[in-house]
């Protein structure tokens, strides 16, 4: 049994027949072949799979693809425009906000959301905002620095 869904992903319209149980993360990675969002836990605890659905950051391992029917989805691949990095991406690069890079796409999508809700967050607000995303490499300090730099740059 499959169900037809229409999803706009990074500005491009997609139509696919999918199983109702197919997770959005698997749809994005294996059907649409956007492998930027990662799977770190499959239980919505690590945030590596974070994407935007209709402008809100969500963990795409805990949403079915059919729930995104009609929605507009932005993944990490959709952030840079005309070869220019998004300010949050640039900030992560400049501030050494990543090491192995596996959590990074989810982190960047979360940071974009943090700044959309609060353009000038305090350190405490940044750390609170990052609570749902695990990073095992950086100790978060340079990620916090990246958020501050992105905020300063007007991301």
């Amino acid at each position: 049994m499959t169900q037809s869904i229409h999803v706009t992903i990074n500005g491009t319209a997609h139509t696919h027949d999918v199983e109702p149980r197919l997770l959005l993360i698997h749809y994005l990675r294996e059907v649409v072949r956007l492998t930027g969002p990662h799977i770190g836990c499959e239980t919505s605890l690590c945030g590596a799979c974070t994407v935007e659905v209709n402008g809100k950051a969500i963990k795409s391992c805990t949403m079915f693809a059919v729930q995104a029917d009609g929605a507009s989805v932005t993944t990490i691949e959709g952030l840079a425009t005309n070869g220019n990095l998004h300010k949050v991406q640039e900030a992560f690069w400049n501030q050494h906000g990543l090491q192995c890079g596996f959590c990074t796409p989810g982190m960047i999508m979360t940071v974009k959301q943090i700044l959309a809700r609060n353009p000038n967050p305090t350190d405490e607000e940044i750390r609170h905002g990052l609570e749902g995303n695990l990073c095992r490499c950086t100790g978060y300090q340079n990620i916090v620095g990246a958020v501050k730099a992105a905020a300063k740059a007007g991301a």
């Binding site: 770190g40 991406q89 890079g101 490499c137």
Partner: protein, 779 residues
């Protein structure tokens, strides 16, 4: 941390932005799970829910009937697939026969029992659930001390004492030291079992090309050449027809050094089905099937003089090995023994290690691998001694440090410390903290009834593994430098970085040595079909050993470049510097690009010189390196909740020369996070039945952003004489320095309540009970 986006004159020593980052921040990097191949199948592994059981029967019929299932294998099908390797050797070591799938018995929760191969991962998982295994559940043992007690259930029936090995090391005259001691302090110190948890779990894609008898294996590993050699041996394949690729690897922290059952299994499956096949470990699998770390129970005794001079150390280590021996499992506690004197001068040591089998996941190398346990132990004991003697822990440390004029310093455990100024980072940390001011604040806090603590660790570590005779595999590292005809430079390194940033630091080294633009350099790694044999990335070795191999390859190449430059300039007296070869008499010069073109065009060759500009160097290190440092932590304990607030975290590390301060600082931050995780939150908890009860991120509390303090990172610089770069290694330093500093700080905070020692993790519950009980006593 400000970084440099513009181009400096020289690159080494600068915080150059990482060259690996553009692909990582745009989501275009290729990790194992991102690999798709035409006609690829997916494997799901059925695992034991029991820690100890005999397998009566396995019924796979239900799984076989599922549409989309290609084949199912159980233990009896894979008996010829070889066994999972252990590379460590110790006298009398008992190595269990470790088949890739369980045959008659399961030994730990997560033990692989069957593999289902299907058209997609959902179908494979569905079908795995339909396999029926009839288990005869037996009594498990999950605690190493219980496992060694008489009458404990035998993990392996043939070894009823559950002892895999014993190991003894002794130096100096321990008995005399203890007989003549003014004071002896004793403590039982636990370094609890931890779970490495890189954000990317393990995963394998295997592709068998039958007509070529060649196997391509993509695996999330830290040591692709090692995997290739071991797999060739295990599977009986020609090593030169086996290509192992570590693509983008999402963290390792030691747990991806091993060659695992799943790598062998996936190769076996691919060779059976003649199709590519992928397996991606779920997080739940990662918790139970990828190696764990630590798992020590240590019994320490310190002998000392009244003035604080440490005269002897006795240590008994009970190492929880788990059920099987993975690649380096039994070697890890021997590293603890090597580093047991820490930075201190005492030559009288005695260590006894017992390796205990338990019905748990194997332990092995996790960031620090044996050294955090050793450092935690000795640094706790120094504080215990200081408390006993009513001395300042600073003074006890200063009294016992190896003196600056004693290097190279031979230790009681047979090592030779390379270089050091052990008091320097401690003094810097004390200055940064305003230590006397802090003690005054503490006095005031205590008057107000607040529990403020000041704690420190002065750690030493052994890095840059290492001289080959002292390591389980070769300890050298390799590099190839190719200057292409266009003048562009390709570096192939035998290390296998996965977050440490050597695509950047190695480009910095090469750009400076050759005097070329860093953008002309590409650093590649991780593919055995591309890169000469290498050892890999672990043990804080990549720059100290791999970077040095690169340095020497560059020197060889420069000699050849000068020869070609001299031919082009029609002279013999030339200098190679700043990317030009210059005639010392006329001042005329040619560029690296011109030299490269001439070397391949080969119109006129220098005497006895081949065309082309390629150089490979294998560098064998003459010694390990020994970084050191001091961490100082200020804490305050909340009496009402038991919560520990870290008020200041000061890390002063000395890793020798620093190639890229930004990257070094990042390594310290991440290392501290993992050490802090051990000190405060993380613990692999098994119940008496061998069930892992902290088997998800909900229960296994890794640090999150809001839990981490701001780390004030500084450095002293004491270059090592072991390699020409003067670098020591920094990957594990933060982890090693952190846990004792934090625990010492909290013990200091609670010392007015009579607390002398606390075992990790210092959870609010544990602390609250101590504070509440103390309040009850005084009420």
């Amino acid at each position: 941390m400000a970084t440099i986006a513009t181009k400096p004159k020289t690159y080494v020593g600068q915080s150059i932005r990482r060259r690996e980052d553009p692909r990582l921040i745009t989501g275009t990097a290729t990790y194992v799970d991102d690999i798709q191949m035409p006609g690829m199948y997916y494997a799901a592994i059925l695992r034991s829910p029991h820690a100890a059981a005999n397998i009566r029967s396995i019924d796979i019929k239900g799984a076989q009937k599922v549409k989309g299932v290609l084949i199912v294998f159980t233990g009896k099908d894979t008996v010829d697939a070889g066994t999972v390797p252990c590379a460590a050797s110790l006298p009398g070591l008992r190595v269990p026969h470790h088949t890739v799938l369980a045959t008659e018995r399961v030994y730990y929760v997560g033990h692989p029992v069957a593999v289902v191969v299907a058209t997609d991962r959902y179908v494979a998982r569905d079908a795995a659930d339909l396999i029926e295994v009839d288990y005869d559940v037996r009594q498990a043992v999950a605690d190493p001390e219980k496992a060694l007690a008489p009458g404990a259930p035998a993990v392996h029936p043939q070894w009823p004492d559950n002892t895999a090995f014993t190991f003894h090391q002794e130096g100096g005259d321990v008995d005399k030291a203890f007989a003549e001691a003014d004071v002896i302090v004793k403590e039982r110190i636990v370094s609890q079992r931890l779970i490495p948890n890189p954000m990317e779990t393990r995963g394998v894609v295997a592709e068998w090309r039958a007509a070529e008898r060649s196997l391509n294996l993509y695996t999330s590993t830290q040591a692709p050449h090692l995997v290739r050699s071991l797999l060739a041996q295990i599977l009986g394949l020609d090593e030169n027809r086996l290509r192992v690729v570590a693509p983008e690897v999402g963290g390792g922290f030691g747990c991806k050094i091993d060659t695992y059952a799943e790598e062998i299994l996936l190769a076996f499956v691919a060779m059976k089905i003649h199709k590519p096949v992928k397996w991606i470990e779920t997080r739940r699998e990662n918790f139970t099937c990828t190696i764990h770390g630590r798992g020590h129970v240590d019994y320490y005794e310190l002998a000392a003089k009244r003035d604080g001079t440490i005269t002897g150390i006795k240590l008994k280590i009970i190492q929880d090995l788990g059920a099987y021996l993975q690649l380096l499992t039994p070697a890890i506690p021997t590293l603890s023994v090597l580093m047991m004197p820490g930075l201190y001068r005492t030559k009288n040591i005695r260590a006894d290690v017992v390796g205990a089998f338990t019905n748990c996941t194997a332990t092995d190398a996790y960031r620090g691998a044996g050294r955090p346990e050793a450092t935690h132990g000795i640094e706790r004991m120094v504080d215990v001694l200081a408390a006993e003697l009513k001395m300042d822990p600073v003074d006890v440390r200063l009294k016992n440090f190896v003196h600056n004029d004693e290097f190279p310093f031979p230790t009681a455990t047979g090592l030779v410390y390379d270089s050091g100024d052990y008091a320097a980072p401690l003094k810097m940390a004390l200055d940064l903290a305003d230590y006397p001011g802090l003690r005054l604040q503490q006095e005031q806090a205590r008057k107000e009834g607040r529990l403020m603590g000041i704690g420190m660790s002065t750690y030493g570590e052994i890095c840059a593994f290492g001289p080959s005779p002292a390591t389980p595999a070769g300890g050298w590292e390799s590099a190839t430098v190719k200057i292409e005809p266009s003048g562009k430079v390709t570096v192939l390194t035998g290390i296998s970085p996965h977050g440490q940033g050597e695509e950047t630091t190695f480009a910095q080294i090469a750009a400076d040595e050759l005097g070329v633009d860093i953008d002309d350099i590409l650093v590649s790694h991780g593919d055995t079909s591309l890169v000469q044999y290498g050892i890999g990335t672990f043990g804080s070795r990549s720059t100290a050993v791999g970077g040095t191999a690169l340095y020497f390859a560059l020197q060889d190449l420069k000699v050849k470049m000068k020869k070609f430059g001299a031919v082009l300039l029609d002279t013999e007296d030339v200098t190679l510097a700043n990317g030009r070869c210059t005639d010392n008499k006329t001042g005329k010069s040619v560029t690296v690009k011109q030299i490269a073109a001439a070397s391949y065009r080969a119109m006129k060759l220098p005497p006895n010189t081949e065309p082309g500009l390629v150089s490979t160097h294998f560098w064998e290190p003459p010694n390990f390196t020994f970084p050191f440092g001091a961490h100082l932590v200020v804490t305050e304990v909340d009496r009402a909740t038991g919560n520990i607030a870290i008020k200041r975290y000061i890390a002063v590390d000395d890793c020798g020369n620093i190639l890229n301060p930004m990257i070094v600082e990042g390594q310290v931050h991440g290392g501290v996070a993992q050490g802090l995780g051990q000190a405060l939150w993380e613990q692999a908890v098994y119940d008496d039945n061998g069930q892992l009860v902290t088997g998800e991120f909900t229960d296994y509390t890794m640090p999150r952003a809001h839990m981490m303090p701001f780390i004030e990172a500084s450095h002293t610089v004491t270059p090592t004489p072991v390699n020409p770069l003067g670098v020591k290694g920094v990957g594990e330093a933060g982890t090693i320095g952190a846990s004792p500093a934090v625990v010492n700080s909290v013990v200091d905070a609670l010392s007015p309540l009579g607390v002398r020692h606390l075992d990790m993790p210092l959870t609010p519950e544990k602390i609250w009970k101590i504070v509440t009980n103390a309040a009850g006593r005084t009420a």
